[in-house]
């Protein structure tokens, strides 16, 4: 039978967390799944296709990392169930590819031995061999293969062609699947066997991680470590403003030119209004924030790659524990800076159900990237771009303050939850600290490209669609003559009764509704509302920031900024909370508390600002 016509062999990539399974999966299948230098990035099984040189096809499964087949968390349970063939709707894999971190074989070999006991055909991929060599770690792969009784190959998953040897061994194995030739049998001491294998095959240098130790002495210091963390975060937000402005001005000018050109070419009428006041003003108002989003993510991706983030989790563990969370909550909460949905899903790596629920409920308080356009718009319109203390950008300081306020609110909410629950015990944090690594430019660029694509797809998809729908509601029934009498205008005015105490006008109230689907739509909605409201075409073509600066008080702007710290309006996040907790009650509770918090904080901000003369 021809190799190309054979049914695809199912291979499962298994191993301890952070050994490079996903990087290897991306190499083998050409996928672009997220990789980072910390444990718990993959919480679900992923599948991709590999075509070997013989033409044979393989279904490759990337599984969440697990330390043992005795699962201690939800993601480990997913890995165990898939390996054993008990995962619903998933056939058992035909063979296992056990991925091990060459720099940490003491930990990884134990799991490899446990997997070997299953008796399934298996290949061991000793990954990160380049890092091991740099540190002077010598591994006798031939001897390891003889003692383990399964094929052993070296891989460098982050390097092009770094998995070639693995593909060759997979092809050879596919010709005739064999169970491992060595087994330990029941009751064997896996730790003793691991020690025996290490002694026979691994040569460790006297000092393996001098750089790691030196860096950790400072970066894990209780005082200097926290100072360094605060400094890093602070610099990121400074850079977001300092570096993005030229590109943003360029996009802004491009959007204005496009609006004027299209307006001049098309005859006056509804279609021209839809394109100029609706699509170009609305979508252009959001797309202008792409440079800021990319700069923020460049830093986050670099930190992920460097191995610094688990250290930050370690540093913050005490503070998080006193607030009712654990250091394990750090990574899910950090993921929530991109979007609360993957953050909430990442809580599957938290073993304790109580900690997991607390993390899920506070994850929406982390400032997701969708909120950045709203912050940037309001800060740009109301906070003058001045230098503070000779160095710092004032707009960057305000942005840092908003992100910090989100984090502080999350800690406060989880502390309140801790006071309510009966079990006030804290769980010790056990976390694997990876080696420091210089981020790879290729991975960073791929990460940024994907981030840009996610943003642009949102702009071209849900944001564009909602902008069109909102334009219709603003244009009809009176042909855009008086926006206050349009369908959306009437809805906005009805809602403004509820939101008047927090200082929101009817235009803001309109923007809040489509913002339920995606928070950035609030910006495009405001752009469309103001473009249609402005009789002067030149004024309509200019950027949104000066328009709202003229029309709003500082108190209203501050109130809206504070509203968006809590912003309960994201249907997708609420749906994910329902799915992950399997409880309507938890979802309703999260919606209720976020809305109450947003309203109370915005109300307090507005009233205080008015009292201080900013109204």
């Amino acid at each position: 039978m021809n190799a190309e016509t054979l049914a695809p062999l199912r291979l499962a990539l298994v191993g301890n967390p952070n050994c490079g399974k996903t990087a290897l999966f991306n190499q083998l299948t050409g996928s672009r799944q997220k990789v980072a230098n910390y444990a718990g990035v993959t919480v679900e099984r992923k599948e991709g296709r590999l075509r070997g040189p013989s033409g044979r096809s393989y279904a490759v499964l990337d599984l969440p990392g697990a330390y043992s087949l005795n699962a201690a968390s939800l993601d480990e349970a997913v890995a165990r169930d898939v390996i054993r063939g008990c995962y619903p709707g998933e056939a058992a894999p035909d063979a296992l590819v056990c991925v091990m971190d060459a720099t940490n074989l003491r930990l990884h070999l134990r799991f490899a031995l446990e997997l070997r006991e299953l008796g399934k055909p298996m290949i061991v991929a000793v990954n990160m061999m380049d890092a091991a060599r740099r540190r002077g770690i010598g591994i006798d792969l031939v001897e390891l293969e003889r003692l383990l009784g399964v094929p052993v190959v070296e891989t460098v998953a982050v390097r092009r062609h770094g998995a070639r040897a693995l593909v060759e061994r997979i092809e050879r194995m596919a010709e005739a699947l064999h169970a491992p030739t060595q087994r330990l049998g029941k009751g064997a001491d896996l730790h003793a066997e691991t020690r025996r294998l290490l002694a026979a095959t691994v040569r460790m240098p006297a000092r393996t991680a001098r750089i790691d130790d030196a860096l950790d002495r400072w970066l894990l210091h209780p005082l200097f470590g926290l100072l360094a963390l605060a400094m890093v975060m602070f610099l990121i937000f400074q850079a977001v403003y300092a570096w993005a402005t030229p590109l943003m001005d360029l996009i802004d000018a491009g959007t204005a030119w496009l609006g004027e050109t299209v307006g001049a070419v098309l005859p006056e009428g509804p279609l021209s209004s839809l394109l100029v006041d609706g699509i170009i003003a609305g979508v252009g108002g959001v797309i202008v924030f792409l440079p800021q989003i990319l700069i923020l993510f460049a830093f986050i991706l670099a930190l992920e790659e460097s191995g610094y983030l688990p250290r930050a989790a370690f540093l913050l563990d005490r503070m998080m524990a006193s607030a009712g969370l654990s250091g394990r909550s750090f990574i899910p909460l950090l993921s929530s800076f991109a979007c609360a949905i993957p953050g909430i899903m990442a809580t599957r790596s938290i073993q304790d159900p109580r900690d997991r629920l607390a993390t899920i409920l506070v994850a929406p308080l982390m400032t997701c990237s969708a909120r950045l356009p709203v912050y940037a718009l309001l800060i740009g319109a109301f906070i003058p771009q001045k230098t503070v203390w000779g160095v710092f950008n004032r707009q960057g300081l305000v942005l840092f303050g908003l992100y910090a306020a989100g984090v502080a609110s999350a800690l406060l909410v989880s502390w309140v939850m801790k006071q309510w629950r009966r079990d006030k015990g804290e769980h010790a944090l056990l976390l694997e600290l990876p080696s420091y690594r210089v981020p790879h430019a290729r991975d960073l660029l791929i990460g940024l490209w994907e981030r840009a694509m996610i943003f642009l797809k949102r702009v071209g998809g849900i944001i564009l669609a909602l902008t069109v729908l909102l334009w219709v509601l603003l244009y009809f029934p009176n042909g855009g003559a008086d926006v206050t009498q349009s369908l959306a205008g009437r809805i906005g005015q009805a809602l403004s009764v509820v939101f008047a105490p927090v200082g929101f006008n009817w235009q803001i109230c309109i923007a809040l509704i489509p913002g339920l689907a995606a928070r950035e739509v609030a910006v495009s909605s405001l752009a469309t509302v103001y473009a249609l409201s402005t009789a002067d075409d030149t004024a309509a073509a200019q950027a949104l920031a000066p328009l709202i600066n003229d029309g709003w008080s500082l108190a209203t702007a501050l109130s809206l900024l504070v509203w968006y710290i809590y912003a309960p309006m994201c249907i997708s996040t609420l749906a994910t909370i329902k799915r992950e907790t399997n409880s309507w009650k938890q979802m309703a509770g999260a919606t209720g508390y976020l809305f109450a918090l947003a309203y109370a904080a915005a109300f307090a901000t507005y009233q205080v600002a008015v009292l201080l003369g900013a109204g």
């Binding site: 839809l274 998809g461 849900i462 669609a465 749906a575």
Partner: protein
């Protein structure tokens, strides 16, 4: 109403239909799936013309399980 204005309204109507569909698919994937199934099943009944059954199969084939949840950010795909 002039022909030019009528054409503009037709284009706008199409844009609105497509936009409403995009929003529904992103925000209410479960509802859209059920709607597709409800539309496809009568088309696939015995005795229906071949073209209608082909159309029904086309509608039904795009209905996949587990489509919901993400609703826009696509980070979790």
């Amino acid at each position: 109403m002039s022909a030019s204005l009528l054409l503009q309204y037709v284009v706008i109507a199409l844009a609105v239909i497509v936009s409403a569909w995009v929003v529904a698919k992103k925000q209410f994937p479960g509802g859209v799936r059920r709607l597709r199934m409800a539309l496809a099943i009568p088309m696939l009944r015995e005795g229906r013309p071949a073209w209608l059954r082909t159309l029904g199969r086309k509608i039904a084939s795009q209905v996949r399980s587990g489509a919901g949840g993400c609703g826009g950010c696509r980070k979790c795909d």
